[in-house]
Symmetry: C2
Subunit: 417 residues, 2 copies
Amino acid sequence: MAKFQKNEIQRLVNNVNKNEFSTMNRRTALEKITLLAAASALPNFIGAKAIENKHLPIAVAGNRAPLRKIATEEAFNIPEIADAIMDVVRRGGKNLDLMLLKQIYSAPRSFTSDAQLQNNQESNRDKANLVTLPKLLDIDKIRLADMDANGVDMHLLSLTMPGVQILKRETAIKLAELCNDRLSQAVRLHPTRFAGLGCFAPQDPKSAVQEMDRAINHLKLNGFIVNSHTENQYLDNPKFWPILEAAEALGAPLYIHPRAPSNGMAAPFRDYRIEGSIWGYGIETGTHIVRLIFSGVLDRFPKLQIVIGHMGEALPFWLSRLDFMGAPGARAGRKNQLKPSEYFQRNIAITTSGVEDPLALRFCIDKIGVDRIMWAIDYPYQPTAPAVAFIESAPLTEAEREKIAYINAERIFKIKK
Amino acid sequence: MAKFQKNEIQRLVNNVNKNEFSTMNRRTALEKITLLAAASALPNFIGAKAIENKHLPIAVAGNRAPLRKIATEEAFNIPEIADAIMDVVRRGGKNLDLMLLKQIYSAPRSFTSDAQLQNNQESNRDKANLVTLPKLLDIDKIRLADMDANGVDMHLLSLTMPGVQILKRETAIKLAELCNDRLSQAVRLHPTRFAGLGCFAPQDPKSAVQEMDRAINHLKLNGFIVNSHTENQYLDNPKFWPILEAAEALGAPLYIHPRAPSNGMAAPFRDYRIEGSIWGYGIETGTHIVRLIFSGVLDRFPKLQIVIGHMGEALPFWLSRLDFMGAPGARAGRKNQLKPSEYFQRNIAITTSGVEDPLALRFCIDKIGVDRIMWAIDYPYQPTAPAVAFIESAPLTEAEREKIAYINAERIFKIKK
């Protein structure tokens, strides 16, 4: 790794400052920064002390004081759920998540060589999946080193997709409890480094509500994660209303994270590996939110707070059309009492996870307001360094940068300052 | 209609200039402008002379010379295809387009009262559908009056969705020819007011290719319209490759217009009337383009020109993520040889149809470049006046405004200057 020199880092960082980040050179720059940051981080991964230049992204900001950074869509898993998911993978079926899950969960659970580590930084994402599982299963070794190396203060942890929602009901209920216990333990061990979103089994709304209460009132977690559809049904379905009611009553945000499209919409996504983060995730999750809006459930639970990732799954871009076409009463069958943009003002916040595009960020600030946008990495599916470089260097006022980096997260997820 | 005074028009127009268009008052402003423009246009609809103030949007531009405006996604139909669609509606089935088609094609074919005309301007879009059919079936009466009243120079006409693609093969072939003959006749009658996109029956690629050749070389049309999937299959399917090859060889752009999601992805769109222009159309068409990109057909037909409406069906917003996730070779199963954004530079242009959002327009200019963006109204599904006010008043340089309003359309569709 010695071939990466500090002056090369500085040159790359200068390019970021010049906003070439958003131009034709963006991908190249990202790849280079990722590689360089990986080079910086590797000694931590294998147990050595953090190297001198560990705060690469701080350099991006010039003389500014260190920016507090709370990353809000950061995934983990526990071995017991990994086992259960592998069982589902072995059984097979038409669930569209299985393509990716098979890649990730068939891989070794721990790093065995430097060669594997380096694979993670290559452009070929199939290879990258070979080293995702060890990072998911780790809480305070690889992860904390990566956070330290990149100047990340806190991960808001959440059980990775598709959570327990792909498991059989009884297993899902049991493993959600175990997962929340483990998560709460990690947060207690590292209260300044981790916060957490509890999971639950929507397959059984009654027990889900009990677990939601325990997660907030007993385990002191910061909200909930749900991975879009459950058994091909969406949260507007009345059977799930107790879950929405509980989230509202507990004052705890519900992060609606992607998973691959439900079976009823899966067909065109089965080719060319477009089912996942590249396209299907956003379509699945965006459609979920559109259903919530036009089903009227956000009128039934007016204080419910929903968070969606990936720069709002493109909904901010669609918002003017949604408003124009979707005024209350525009069509029989729709039940929304407000304009879609009014729900964004009241019920919906977004995170930047995996969309490190200054133009898209500026668009979202102008469209839905800076107070409803939070920074995220999407660790370990996305590399940390470009996400950090993005929030450190995006063309924002310092007030905007601080809101997005941590202030909004502290408020929305009730994270201790 | 006398209650709408010129000073009120001027006040509204001033508000547009102040860019309040994009703020909280946008919907209200749009509704008012639409109503006022309708008031201006009505005398034309019923045969009277154009009223003095017919060029309302020109006033928006202050002292600037009149802006040439070519609208590029403007729908029409012919009675024979309307009959055939009504037959399909009567047979029923699970095709998701049927919800909207039933509303539109069950309505009377001609205006019968002023009351109906006024319904078209109400926010309730179900009522608006009652007066869509007469406007679709008209070429040179209601339409030309609406164009005159709003200062629109030209409609690039195209057979309305779902075209002949919903019909049985033999019927589709025959009616596509008839439709192209009628279209070419309208263009010959009004060569400065109309240009046209030919249709074809993808159900039968061999005859489609013959009709495509006739449409360009004999009828002198300007390109082609296809309404996304045909019998639930997309244009990346090898059976459709002769169509892509013909479009490329003829140097004629292929406008991929929305229709409701194909059966294989329809399930979550069946509730709350989210299947159409409000959400399903964009998802269907965006997914179609994503399939074309990752199937590699744009490498097979590198000169193929594709046009998509509705501000690019949100693909420009997704482009940084598509690039990050979708580099060539990123996953087995994908066949793209270029980055997604490189296809946008080479093969894909967008129109503004129905997305009158200055923020979204600016985003797209910054992301894909002003040379690949064209103005459109989406007549008669969208009102003309707000679309005109949008292109006249959006915060653009005059060079940008002219490119979007007509220069790009003249180049891409080979429209006579």
